[in-house]
């Protein structure tokens, strides 16, 4: 269950940010997860709710996970496209060497606090 490890990492980032900004209470945490990461939001939220108990500043904060769909760029013709059903083939030139532009993210984008 790697969601537990990720939840702990998120908490560490949020606690540090809260300390640096002298906030009393974190109410919401916005996370971006690329589709390729295969994160199950409910599982991550569940784990986060559990680990967040160790910080009174973060405990009870809402964890919002935005899943970013996969976008690719063809290395041959530079065409940019959304990758449907994990099919990494350029729809324009059928080239198979595709850079992932979006879909591998895993980051805390911002927190909302009072």
């Amino acid at each position: 269950m790697h969601e537990m490890g990720l939840a702990q990492n998120i908490l560490d980032i949020v606690v540090k940010t809260a300390e640096q900004n002298n906030v009393d209470k974190v109410v919401r945490i916005n996370v971006r997860a690329g589709q390729l990461r295969g994160i199950v939001p409910e599982q991550l939220q569940f784990c986060f709710g559990f680990v967040a108990r160790e910080s009174s500043v973060v405990d009870g904060a809402e964890l919002v996970i935005e899943t970013l769909p996969i976008k690719g760029k063809c290395k041959s013709c530079s065409h940019e496209f959304s990758v449907e059903e994990y099919r990494f083939v350029c729809p324009e030139c059928e080239h198979e060497d595709i850079d992932v532009l979006q879909g591998m993210e895993l980051m805390v984008s911002n927190i909302e606090a009072v």
């Binding site: 990494f88 198979e96 805390v108 984008s109 927190i111 606090a113």
Partner: protein
Amino acid sequence: MPIKIQVLNNILEMNDSYAAENKRVFEANSSFAVNMMSSPGSGKTTLLERTLERLDPSRVAIIEGDMQTTKDAERLERFGCQIVQISTGNACHLDGKMIHDALADLDLSDVRLLVIENVGNLVCPAEFRVGEDAKIVVLSVTEGEDKPLKYPLMFREAAVCIFNKIDLLPHLDFSLDEARENARQINPQLKFLEISCKTGEGLDEWTDWLKSKMKG
């Protein structure tokens, strides 16, 4: 009114920095590091036994990830290569820090191949880079052809996909073509090997590939 504070921190930053440090250690020692991943029971340890029979054990080191037991490491001890066992406890994967800590117990100066046998699991190990040069995914033919579509990150990140236990194919409905097609659409650069540790089929091709990556 809550205030919004920009963070933009990579959740895996700590892991990735350990992985980058591990990679520097592998490079400094000219050790080619492979991270072997699969479902439980796909035959990774047996494949490793057959592999070690074909390579010079003094040139190979193994990091063995297992949740509870030391059984896999015990099976490999007779080959006389350096082995470090990592008991992950409840963790379902190896991460950059675990490998970093394990490296303290290894002398890589003569090691040209470091095999990291990850915990049997197709989801979590794919998320955590350990600094490896290549990820190898082992899929036994007793599993489904749709595994690549169910675990896309694993197959997207792998350099080599090994279809293992192919001696069982006559008894199964498993279609190698379909499995290959499913994996290829996720990762068109993926190299495929078909292996039977029972008959020895495909093992030479596998060890030739490893040797081609080992420096000296």
